[in-house]
Symmetry: C2
Subunit: 259 residues, 2 copies
DNA sequence: TCAAAAGTGTTGGGAGTACACCCATGT
DNA sequence: ACATGGGTGTACTCCCAACACTTTTGA
């Protein structure tokens, strides 16, 4: 073969945040066909001269007005077959974890941009366009796993946060309550995780909480939590971060099946 | 934008196995430019009508004569910029862990196909073409992490294996010795991992070892090892499986940097 | 009988869970 | 005062690293 077949490459962004103790995902309302009017992950096609990560940042800004305030990383690639009615499209999905960044304004091909509870978007009758429910599920699973070993959950908080705020992020992502006392000890005692700023926060009643920040010189995605903070959920831990363990789905780009 | 820019999509395969207690990677000698004569990961371009996983399987067969006997999964995507002198190419890398499958014969665009020790391929002056040293490093790191939680290391062994063979696989991948007694207990006592076949293997001197197989109904990639088998290496565990934590490198498709 | 490899028992320390309890603040 | 949330102390359990020890084979 001399000239290889060329494919459009799409990028999609799973942007997660915590609102009211529940995990929310940023979705746009599609302004163009296919799936016009349906909710979808923000995203679009990679242009000439772009890396996929740059394209993800650009599409996020165009469609939602957000300049990534948190941590953006590649998630997984899907396709190119069977995921877009227009033809083969490879999608490189990305994951963004960030504090609730307020003014979301739609633009580009999007006629709306909103934070929606992840639970609703992952329901069996998910309204999401394309294979975006699959991508979202993979993104949530990756987030669940990554915060076990990395300080990435601090991305959900502002630059300074209380232990309770951090714990709330963990609880929202894992969907399980944690013991506040043990979490406090674990978070404050683990090296290379967080450090006290000396300041305190007064929120409502109760003793004011000490404020912390991410420990200096620590990459949010570095795997520094040793031993890790493991999620409580029973003896059979859900599959972890990586490219989807068991329960594979339809048109993901790779990994399983196809004899 | 109406018609999106289209890119060639490549697939590359990091095929790992254990030979003489050391981790080896399958590399081909490139028979065409660019990088003609240089070692490279087996791979090629995705054709119309293929999923990336299928393309990875096909290229592996064409260039090395191997039909994936182990477990093939998607690793990470790189590019499309700055990784091929011919122009932008997105590469979807895959990871294959398998027992040493013997007859490797070169074909397609490859003029040679050989197992090479991973250590040499990852040396600072790595001979690998393109960004394949980066991809290999990511693949090795993914393998190191995945065998902590999944029975995937059994992929390195045949259908039946002794505990010592399994331990040798772990030691080769992690690059660290393990206590045979403790490993034996851990491997045999962990539920949903391996089961005895009742047969024994007589290799050289010493008491014959019981033969085991992967527990029935267990997906090799399912994350069933709870608690996980954690690698010995000191208190600061190397980054894990996922898309590269900290130390990002040049032209990977995504995740970090690029303001 | 000895060497080599397989496999079991035992023990001390470290980490996690559960929960009692004290601290500091708003009302 | 009292409710509310922040933070510490402690007992119990489980896992694991370390290593002594037994079992089963080949030479």
């Amino acid at each position: 073969m001399t000239t290889p077949f060329a494919f459009p490459i799409a990028v999609d962004v799973v942007a997660l945040t915590v609102i009211d103790r529940a995990l929310h995902c940023l979705v746009v309302t599609r302004g163009i066909d296919p799936y016009r009017g349906r909710p979808a992950l923000p995203g679009g096609f990679v242009r000439e001269g772009e890396q996929t990560l740059q394209a993800a940042e650009r599409e996020l800004e165009e469609e939602t007005g957000i300049t990534p305030p948190g941590h953006l990383e590649q998630l997984f690639s899907y396709g190119p077959l069977g995921r877009d009615p227009r033809g083969p499209v490879l999608s490189v999905a990305h994951l963004l974890l960030a504090p609730r960044f307020s003014p979301v304004r739609p633009g580009g091909d999007a006629s709306g941009a909103h934070w929606r509870p992840v639970d609703a978007l992952l329901a069996p009758d998910s309204p999401l366009a394309f294979d975006h429910a699959t991508i979202l599920a993979d993104g949530v699973e990756r987030a669940r796993s990554k915060i076990e070993y990395s300080p990435l959950a601090t991305s959900f908080c502002g630059p300074e946060f209380t232990i309770t705020q951090l714990r709330t992020a963990y609880e929202a992502i894992w969907g399980a309550p944690l013991d506040p006392r043990n979490f406090h000890r674990k978070a404050t005692k683990t090296a290379s995780f967080i450090e006290a700023t000396g300041r305190t926060a007064h929120e409502g009643a109760g003793r004011p909480a000490a404020l912390y920040r991410l420990a200096p010189g620590v990459d949010e995605t570095a795997f520094v939590l040793d031993p890790p903070l493991r999620r409580p959920t029973g003896p059979a831990p859900v599959p972890p971060t990586n490219p989807l363990p068991g329960r594979m789905r339809d048109n993901r780009a790779s990994t399983e099946g196809e004899p």
